[in-house]
């Protein structure tokens, strides 16, 4: 990892600790050992570890530059962002579309998106697999284990 990356990590650790301490200060106090005792200790420890990380990084030498294969390429970042977007979309669609439709759409899109660049996407196979998986999971849990997964608009047609 490069010096800059290690410094950014140290700053993030320090920021997390200070942020947590700030939130702790908003809590009501009821004596020395109260609900804030451990949060103060933990926040201070996080901030101190962040400072140590920054200090050690500044004092350390011998950082190697990142190899080209280690650097994130724009296309990779885009795929990660699209995956996060798909997962978020799937969760947001669970109630309005229902589990079977939301899961089938998510699976189809995610199969396609994760297909390695060395392979050609197979949309028909992905569609069949997505629908089949969504239906099998829904039926197994809703009727086999009585877990009331949201049915969405399909609810009125379900037994």
């Amino acid at each position: 990892m490069s010096r800059n990356s290690e410094l950014i990590i140290g700053l993030a650790m320090l920021g997390a600790g200070l942020g947590y301490l700030y939130l702790t200060m908003q809590l009501p106090r009821r004596g020395t050992v109260d609900a804030t005792f451990f949060p103060y200790a933990l926040g201070s420890a996080m901030a101190a570890l962040g400072l140590l990380q920054i200090l050690f990084t500044l004092r350390r030498s011998g950082f190697l530059p990142l190899a080209p294969s280690e650097r994130l390429q724009p296309r990779q970042l885009l795929t990660v962002a699209a995956t996060l977007g798909l997962v978020a979309g799937f969760i947001a669609a669970l109630r309005p579309l229902g589990f079977p439709v939301a899961a089938a759409l998510f699976l189809f899109a995610q199969f396609w998106l994760l297909t390695p660049s060395t392979q050609r996407p197979r949309p028909i196979l992905y569609a069949v697999l997505a629908i089949l998986s969504a239906v099998v999971i829904f039926v197994t849990f809703r009727y086999g284990f009585r877990l009331m997964l949201p049915g969405g608009p399909l609810t009125r047609y379900l037994p």
Partner: protein
């Protein structure tokens, strides 16, 4: 006793109960193997099915689910680097590297056999020393629990591969995340931002699934369209013979298995700490006792043996306070207690006297379920390996959907599904920052135990901190914790000294 045990075996080997045990173990293995589905969920979802069964059949089915699900976690831990349940977190540390080295079948075989051994040893403990063990465990109060939690937390640094600062930070961050929700003792809501959904804090399941499964999907997304990098080779698989390991390897691991099982049983007995903790503690103990600690984390069977013996040994351990005192130690045994009560059985000291035949039927069901687990997993070994033939871009999204089902199943809330995404992003950030995930999980599990018992202990000793040191057991554990910290600081400084000596090895 022998008569009762034989009668118990007679009961569970009847066709109806035997089939139920076989089915229960099979379903349990699937629940354990799929990240997001747990033993708790398997038992909770199948509990209504036992209403129409008799007590022996119903309890046998629940026990079979418990045994299968506890062991099943090793499958995804080894094959996919995603622990199926919290009990298998440490199995990923060496199981996954073994998989990458082409020794996946061997790792699975070792895990299966030593899961069986751990279960059998714990059943032995349950049958022969249950009441006295339970009495000792019950004498533990907040001082002892706090000291045990602190001692376990100091072991976090051992799991910090790479930077110790990052490892300790991860543990502290896990503890910090566990403070979200209603505080112990004074019931102040902390860091909830007015969201009632997190008043009870985050569930370990959503944290685990997010940090491991969702983060893994994001990592696969990152590498799917990498240009210029070396192509990722599929894991090599050698032909599987038997369980995939030699007799010499088996015999060499017996001391490790016995030590890990004892840790698993001891921790299993203590209410509130379960297999989620014991597998990591026994992994650390095995690493410390090993002649080749440098091999840990790179794919050694010692790590898999330690984790799998300990987590399955927790089964018998957890049953000890349940049956002898009627006290459930964790969520699984709490549901089992409910199952027993539904069938008109009241666990407690009188159970062994009033319901002797049923108690021994439970023991027999545990033994038969353990044997069925061994057989089914041995048969399934080749099938599990075939899972790897499914491309990751197909398998992981399906697993993610199952994780979402598991999170939703916790309380039928979409909110819990959102939390797995949030922890997935955190897990991915940890991976990018070179921060280990295991200390975070340990901090998250042990944090509430340390805080709650610290506050209760202080109340009991009227605010006097020395109560933690004057209590013999608590004092011993706190002294061990101090020694552990000193040793780790010394170990961290020692290599630098050696490195500064020219030609140290000469």
């Amino acid at each position: 006793m022998l008569d009762l045990l034989l009668a118990g075996f007679g009961n569970v080997l009847s066709p109806q109960i035997f089939i139920l045990i076989t089915l229960g173990v099979a379903v349990g293995i699937v629940f354990g193997a799929v990240p997001g589905l747990t033993a708790v969920m398997a038992i909770a979802l199948c509990l209504p099915m036992t209403y129409t069964l008799g007590p022996a059949a119903g309890i046998s089915l629940l026990i079979a689910l418990f045994v299968g699900a506890t062991s099943g976690g090793l499958i995804s831990a080894i094959l996919l680097k995603i622990p199926g349940t919290p009990s298998s977190i440490a199995t990923t540390f060496d199981g996954a590297p073994m998989m990458e080295k082409g020794e996946g079948a061997k790792a699975l075989g070792v895990g299966i056999v030593f899961s069986f051994i751990g279960t059998i040893l714990s059943i032995g403990a349950l049958m022969f020393i249950a009441p006295s063990l339970a009495r000792v465990a019950l004498s533990f109060g907040p001082h002892e629990y706090f000291a045990i939690a602190i001692f376990s937390l100091t072991l976090i640094a051992t799991l910090s591969s790479g930077s110790m600062i990052k490892g300790i930070f991860a543990g502290v961050a896990g503890f910090a995340v566990s403070t979200v929700g209603i505080a112990p003792v004074d019931a102040i809501t902390r860091f909830t931002f007015g969201r009632v959904e997190i008043n009870a804090g985050f569930s370990i399941l959503t944290v685990l699934v997010g940090m491991f499964a969702v983060a893994e999907v994001i990592r696969v997304a990152e590498s799917a369209h990498r240009k210029g990098g070396a192509p990722v080779a599929p894991p090599l698989l050698v032909r599987i013979k038997g369980f995939g390991f030699s007799m010499a390897e088996f015999l060499g691991q017996i001391p490790n298995a016995i030590r890990s099982s004892l840790i698993g049983i001891s921790i299993g007995i203590l209410p509130g700490i379960g297999a989620g903790t014991s597998n990591i503690i026994s992994y650390i103990a095995a690493k410390k006792r090993s002649k080749t600690p440098e091999k840990f984390g790179k794919g050694t069977i010692e790590g898999v043996v330690a984790s799998e013996s300990a987590n399955n040994a927790g089964i018998g351990g957890a049953m000890i306070p349940l049956l002898t005192l009627g006290i459930p130690g964790d969520a699984v045994t709490a549901i089992l207690l409910g199952g027993l009560m539904i069938h008109g059985i009241q666990p407690g000291p009188m159970l062994f006297i009033t319901q002797g035949p049923l108690v021994y039927t439970i023991f027999a069901a545990l033994v038969v379920a353990a044997i069925m687990m061994l057989i089914l997993e041995f048969v399934g070994l080749r099938l599990f390996i075939k899972l790897l033939a499914i491309p990751k871009h197909i398998l992981l999204p399906i697993i993610l959907v199952l994780c979402a089902v598991g999170a939703f199943g916790l309380a039928s809330r979409i909110f819990d599904v959102w939390t797995i995404l949030a922890f997935g992003i955190l897990g991915y950030a940890f991976a990018k920052a070179g921060m280990p995930t295991a200390p975070f999980i340990i901090g998250f599990i042990l944090g509430p135990m340390a805080e709650t018992n610290f506050r209760r202990g202080l109340q009991l000793s009227s605010g006097d901190f020395t109560g933690f040191l004057t209590n013999p057991i608590a004092g011993t554990f706190l002294a061990l914790a101090a020694l552990s910290i000193l040793w780790q600081v010394y170990a961290a400084l020692r290599p630098h000294k050696i490195a500064t000596l020219p030609n140290a090895q000469d």
